[in-house]
């Protein structure tokens, strides 16, 4: 039989241990949620690029800002619809990535920003992005708005000379910028990154801190 006072001391010690465990666990979890201890496979740009922010028009013709996509993990990619090879390849690959993520993909959005304001209207963008993935959004805007967004992420685009028949190409950044649910720039993917790396990192980001 353990004396009463000793029992109380043990119980108190147990409670204290539990408290420590809880505090320590919470700290660990907090660190995880901030992503400090995560080994990302893509290039980590956390703290090196500004938060997601823009004033553009979505493919339904509605004015949208970066704030409208808070709560979603965002994949930002610059391109244009008259691009028959690289842009469709990138979007087709992102579609496969979304499929591989399964139901988690509903927490993500592909934002395809047109660098060809002269030809890409919301209607054209709507048909275009929906041919790839239901979670893709086509954003267009004035040349000044597009340039502001492009410069914000140190991206660049150049309209190449006319080929004589009114057709022209636009050279553009090939990178995919990944933002977390709070609109923080987190990762950068390039065509050199294997698809598995994108799936791996998005799976992690989408599994972390699920909104309630």
């Amino acid at each position: 039989m353990i004396p009463f006072h000793l029992r109380m001391t043990l119980r108190r010690a147990g409670r204290l241990t539990l408290l420590f465990a809880l505090v320590f666990g919470a700290l660990l979890l907090g660190a995880c949620n901030r992503g400090d201890s995560i080994e990302w496979r893509l290039t980590n740009v956390s703290g090196h690029m500004p938060d997601l922010d823009f004033h553009l028009v979505d493919d339904q013709g509605k004015a949208v800002t970066g704030q409208d996509y808070r709560g979603k993990v965002v994949l930002l990619y610059f391109g244009y619809t008259h691009c028959p090879d690289v842009c469709p390849l990138t979007l087709a690959q992102l579609h496969v990535v979304m499929q591989r993520l399964g139901p988690l993909a509903d927490g993500a959005r592909i934002l395809f920003v047109s660098v060809d304001p002269a030809r890409d209207t919301p209607d054209i963008m709507h048909a275009y992005v929906n041919a790839f993935d239901p979670r893709a959004v086509g954003l267009s805007g004035t040349p000044r708005e597009i340039e502001a967004l492009s410069k914000r992420y140190r991206s660049a685009f150049t309209r190449e000379p006319d080929k004589g028949d009114g057709q022209y190409e636009v050279s553009h950044s090939s990178a995919i910028y990944v933002f977390d649910r709070d609109g923080k720039a987190r990762l950068l993917a390039t065509p050199a990154n294997p698809q598995d790396d994108l799936v791996h990192d998005l799976h992690l980001m989408l599994s972390l801190g699920n909104p309630t």
Partner: protein, 157 residues
């Protein structure tokens, strides 16, 4: 007179055969596979891809392609250097002797525009590949949806 014609016929036939063989040239040694078109919505330009295998002892040079379904077909090459995606027209693509050349997403491709009548997913579109010696090869390309990543033969979806 009748005998004369009969004697001349084999000669004529031989001559025709020689002419045909000369015309076949580079195209005769080229085998195509994985031929497909990525169809984009509306009248946006499409990309076409194909693997070319040269079974001959001499290199073959693809110069251009044409189609009765598309008003314009151009040989292009995409590149992604220094983080920038670019597209440029190219004059030719050499298929080495006993070697392969691939027109595949992110590299060499045919940019096709002005489809008439409009092309649908599933359509077989005939393209004529033109080689440097003037020979030509017809190939059927299968039309695939925008979000396809290959010709579809080994696709699991």
């Amino acid at each position: 007179m009748i005998i004369g014609t009969a004697r001349a016929l084999p000669l004529l036939a031989a001559g025709l055969l020689l002419a045909t063989a000369a015309h076949a040239g580079e195209a005769e040694h080229v085998r195509t596979s994985q031929a497909w078109i990525r169809l984009l919505p509306g009248d946006l330009p499409a990309g076409a891809y194909v693997t070319l295998e040269n079974t001959g002892d001499q290199p073959a040079t693809l110069r251009s392609a044409s189609s009765t379904r598309y008003g314009s077909v151009m040989l292009h090459k995409s590149s992604s250097e220094g983080g920038v995606s670019r597209m440029a027209m190219v004059d030719n693509l050499v298929i080495p002797a006993h070697g392969k050349a691939e027109l595949a997403p992110g590299g060499y491709h045919l940019m096709m525009s002005k489809a008439n009548p409009p092309v649908q997913v599933g359509d077989a579109v005939k393209l004529t590949l033109h080689f440097a010696d003037g020979s030509a090869l017809d190939t059927d390309f299968v039309t695939r949806p925008a979000n396809a990543t290959d010709a579809g033969d080994t696709h699991s979806h």
